[in-house]
Symmetry: C2
Subunit: 343 residues, 2 copies
């Protein structure tokens, strides 16, 4: 049963577990430093499909199926699937869920979707609304580029602040269990918008939301950055990460040494020419499910704050001169179900 502390944070008193998780990527992710940790990497970014959108659907299905396999849960035993993606009308998830036959809540949280879906799954299990939930998301470089920016064939030049959409997917199975990683608390974000309008600088647009949610969590829980091993943001990239660290310093929570960003981990920024880093829903999802969760499971990481951030604009709103609203949802993921066992 969840217990509210402070004004916006919920402690998940039953500490639901992530009993299964899987990460899927493609060629560029295979060339990156985290390749060894992925469950499945396709040399072919089209995954054998005729369109990029179908490739993304297949990729998300693969991640969900692998996550279920790894914890021996049948599709029919899943109470709810929470999933979303970046594509118009979230077709990546809609078509993936078509073959899953699970009760389905479609989400749109832009790049915050891994946090959003995992928050809902964790809250549902802790609130006894469900026994087993799946949280999943995906993004695909090729489907995102042509939808948000230019057709790939155009070969447009990228600005230094731009990021590279990860072709990847991650899925988590959440259930009551006595195995790490445990989901201990959530802070659901509110929209923050400081007026950034540059769609090639998403990191800057999302950093204020990240700072807001993080400060809220520290204030609600009376904890500080140094109480955690790692504060992991989704895809702020190089520009957004430095901004977040400076904002947190100004708020009295210096955290630069404890902070990392999935967008800075998944690629080698210099060798792989990705400018400010990786981005997309699949960035946070695949880094969490490949590299982070196993380290929490084996207690190498004991307490992680995972916070994927989303930029809730569209090409249309941008063309209409609107600024970019950001959102960030936070989860405390731990190697221990409670403080007592941590000692």
């Amino acid at each position: 049963m969840p217990k509210k502390i402070g004004s916006k944070t919920l402690l998940l008193t039953s500490s639901p577990s992530i009993i299964g998780y899987a990460a899927v990527g493609a060629k560029k992710e295979k060339q990156g430093p985290l390749a060894d940790y992925f469950d499945y990497l396709s040399e072919d970014s089209s995954f054998g499909e005729k369109t990029w959108e179908k490739a993304e659907t297949l990729m998300q299905k693969k991640a969900i199926e692998l996550a279920l396999q790894k914890c021996s849960v049948q599709k029919t035993d899943v109470d709810f699937l929470f999933a979303g993606d970046l594509l118009n009308q979230c077709i990546g998830s809609a078509y993936a869920s078509r073959d899953m036959a699970m009760p389905f809540f479609g989400l749109y949280g832009a790049c915050s979707t891994m946090s959003e879906s995992l928050c809902l799954a964790a809250m549902f299990v802790d609130g006894q609304l469900a026994n087993r939930c799946v949280a999943a998301t995906s993004s695909h470089f090729c489907s995102a580029e042509r939808q948000f920016r230019f057709p790939l064939e155009y070969g447009g030049q990228r600005t230094p602040t731009s990021q590279w959409t990860v072709t990847g997917s991650g899925a988590c199975v959440v259930a009551p269990s006595k195995q790490a990683p445990y989901l201990r608390a959530v802070t659901v974000g509110t929209v923050a918008d400081l007026g950034i309008t540059d769609i090639n600088n998403m990191g800057a647009a999302m950093a204020p939301a990240a700072a807001q949610t993080l400060c809220q969590f520290f204030s609600d829980t009376s904890t500080r950055p140094e109480d955690y091993d790692l504060i992991l943001t989704g895809d702020l990239g190089f520009v957004g990460s430095r901004l977040l660290e400076r904002m947190m310093q100004a708020e009295g929570y210096p955290m630069a040494k404890l902070h990392n960003d999935c967008g800075l981990m998944i690629y080698d920024r210099v060798k792989q020419d990705v400018h400010a880093g990786g981005s997309g829903c699949g960035c946070a999802a695949s880094v969490l499910c490949s590299f982070i969760l196993p380290q929490i499971a084996c207690q190498r990481l004991k307490n992680v704050l995972f916070m994927a951030t989303g930029a809730l604009m569209s090409p249309t709103s941008n063309q209409q001169g609107e600024s970019i609203p950001g959102i960030a949802h936070l989860l405390h993921i731990s190697a221990f179900p409670n403080e007592k066992e941590a000692k």
Copy 2:
């Protein structure tokens, strides 16, 4: 605390109340038969804004603010806002939520969004994950037409099976209370796809999902259509409604006399030239929040099954030859908190 019955239905044992609700529409809705029941109708479909998208945002904000006013709840007292819409990247809701400062879960359920958001709000309150939740959605004829079909200026001819996207929004405030309407049970839908590919016949694409969820609910609860005063679908329109009734008849649940569809109620199909009826997230939302909920509150309607349906395709998936997956989420909304008080 929710209690699972059958395989996919949750009884909400605390019977959360819809303590506030409001419906907003525009010119065509003002000319329709339900006009008198709306809380706010704008003669100007642009709501004084420069773009249709900004008009939709304003409309959704208006619905949420009116719903909160009507039950004297402050924005700061809302634990979670669940909202989504039809626009790419759900910008109607994202920008509406920017000024709300409420923890925000963005949803994408196409035209099922009023059911999806209300299911989540009801489950959160019943599972004690929240004290007060807002569920909202919207659609706008002009923003939808140009995104899904043709620019308005093109003046394309509409097929007989096509529906007219409602310019409207509805919002509900859900909280524990001892006042009708009560939320008694939910059945969250799974995707159903019988292979329909005609995007001008959404009703036919969504009817199988509606039949599937409805049969599931009757089977799980051991009830029958005649146990309810009204079975209300979202926007199946004329074609989809007749299909659903025939499918239910074939399943042994004849219900044509008890069934109505928001898409058939909001406009005068003959006089207003809307072909197969109204559609869009705002259709089910505004009909529920204008015409239906007050009748449940005063016990004129005692037990209503509300089920908005969604077609989870996009113009891209359609152009790529994909069929249209449908989904339907069901809520049992009642004038009584339990069977005992109903007698």
